[in-house]
Amino acid sequence: MKNIFMKKIKEEILEYLFREKKEMVSISELKSYFNFENFDEIINSLVIEGKIKLENDFVILTDQGEKEGEDIFEKHEFVEDFLKNIGVPEDFAHEKACEIEHHISEDKLKDIYPLSKLNTGEVGEIVLIRGGKGLIQRLYDMGLTPGTEIKVLRQAPFGPIEISLRGYHLALGRGVIDRIWVKKKN
């Protein structure tokens, strides 16, 4: 757990430095921005990894550091756009993107649609469900958890759709199916 956390913080720092590339960022600025206990330890290890340099109390990205910062930055933009496209409110999309960018590669975000876009007979894997905690809990209780494969069995225009998952059949109303995002399988 701790290692993942460290990796995440380091990526955040590189991304921040990349965004602020035109400005000189001082170490005290960075420290107050991230406000993190073992900040010094993290900075040291970034220096050792050759991703940043310290010059007169300013933090400067090395070439390698800049490249990594740019990578993370692009992923963030991509994820944030994606989230906004599927209707996640802007500030929430930004916050979520900050989390997701560390875990996901771009090709994972391809072929993701709301369930209603799948045709009869097509299979998708649940990626995320949008909605209040109550709705999500109820769908999870019926087995619609992320990673679960679902197949569209039947659909009536404007009516409910029938899906199969975990060895059983379930009918879902129109109001719900556009909240379920799936990665289409070939």
Partner: protein, 317 residues
């Protein structure tokens, strides 16, 4: 009389799995139908006398979880956790094992003493699957009785098992449901802090506190303890990036998926000759070919064989 031992059994499970059919089989005409106190939901109780036991049977509403988004779920979980029936018969639909096991795991977590009725075995036999019920019994470490409720098959055995559990003749130690280290640590710390008595099982109660279950949280009056709970839930949500109740739901589904994949077996399709021929002759495209080929063969045989026969016959004249 008066010598009879009295015990209470509840029937619990998903909707439409056969609870009421089993209830009727058990209680026959001794039924009382009313409402749950203060609720609009029907309560069905009945009793039976069996080998000197007077057994009260309660038919609970069909539900999928204890997340309490409905009255039925609340009634069921409070009845099981607080009234503590001596045994709960968990009726499981053999055709939809994975979803049903998810509920079984929740009953285990609620520390109900279970006997599983693996019902609708007749329909399972007609399907493409079979269930290794011995293996399932070993994994869950809970007695399992295969039943066909509508035919009364397995019902007596079910009662026998309930009595064995009640009498302590079977050691009841079901599978333990454990979560990741981060969750377990916090549950165990919380158990030490929340020391007041509730009629709910301790571990379950504290898990529900971490999940932020409103009904359960109301039972905690101490502001300090509420703060500790809040803090621990927050930590968990930060680690996982999702509400904790969702994480635990996923974990239980993962477990029921894993168990299902170990005990659900696809039947070997024996190649049945008539099925095979049906497939060839009734196929939308090949059907025509096979028709033409067979007609051709018939004509060919008639002419060849007919020729031979007529020549043979001619030789007599």
């Amino acid at each position: 009389m008066g010598e009879e031992k009295e015990l209470t059994i509840a029937l619990a499970g998903n909707a439409n799995v056969g609870k009421s059919v089993i209830f009727n089989q058990l209680t026959g005409s001794h039924q009382i139908i009313g409402n749950w106190p203060g609720k609009t939901i029907e309560k069905r109780e009945g009793y039976l006398i069996y080998k000197g036991y007077k057994i009260k049977v309660v038919d609970l509403p069909g539900i999928y979880s204890f997340s309490t988004y409905s009255e039925e779920e609340l009634i069921s979980r409070d009845f099981i956790a607080k009234e503590k029936p001596d045994v709960v018969i968990n009726v499981v639909d053999a055709l939809h094992l994975e979803r049903n096991l998810f509920f079984t795991l929740q009953l285990i977590e609620l520390e109900a003493k279970l006997v599983i009725a693996l019902n609708q075995i007749d329909l399972l036999e007609k399907s493409d699957f079979t269930i290794d019920s011995n293996k399932l019994e070993n994994i869950l470490n809970i007695p399992i009785v295969p039943t066909v409720a509508i035919e009364g098959k397995g019902i007596e055995k079910l009662i026998e098992k309930c009595i064995e559990i009640y009498e302590g003749e079977i050691k009841y130690e079901p599978i333990k449901i454990e979560y990741g280290k981060e969750v377990e640590e916090r549950v165990n710390e919380l158990i030490k802090v929340v020391s007041f008595d509730t009629s709910y099982p301790k571990r379950w109660f504290n898990i529900k506190l971490l999940e932020g279950d409103e009904k359960i949280k109301k039972l905690v009056r101490d502001e300090k303890i509420l703060e500790i709970i809040e803090k621990k839930s927050k930590e968990l949500e930060e680690i996982h990036g999702e509400p904790i109740s969702l994480i635990l739901t996923q974990e239980k589904y993962n477990l029921s998926n894993k168990i299902t994949s170990e005990v659900l077996i696809k039947k070997e399709k024996r190649v049945n000759i008539s099925d095979f021929l049906d497939k060839i002759f009734l196929h939308p495209i090949f059907g025509y070919f096979t028709l033409i080929i067979s007609l051709f063969l018939i004509f060919y045989l008639i002419f060849k064989f007919g020729n031979f026969v007529s020549r043979y016959l001619e030789s007599f004249f």
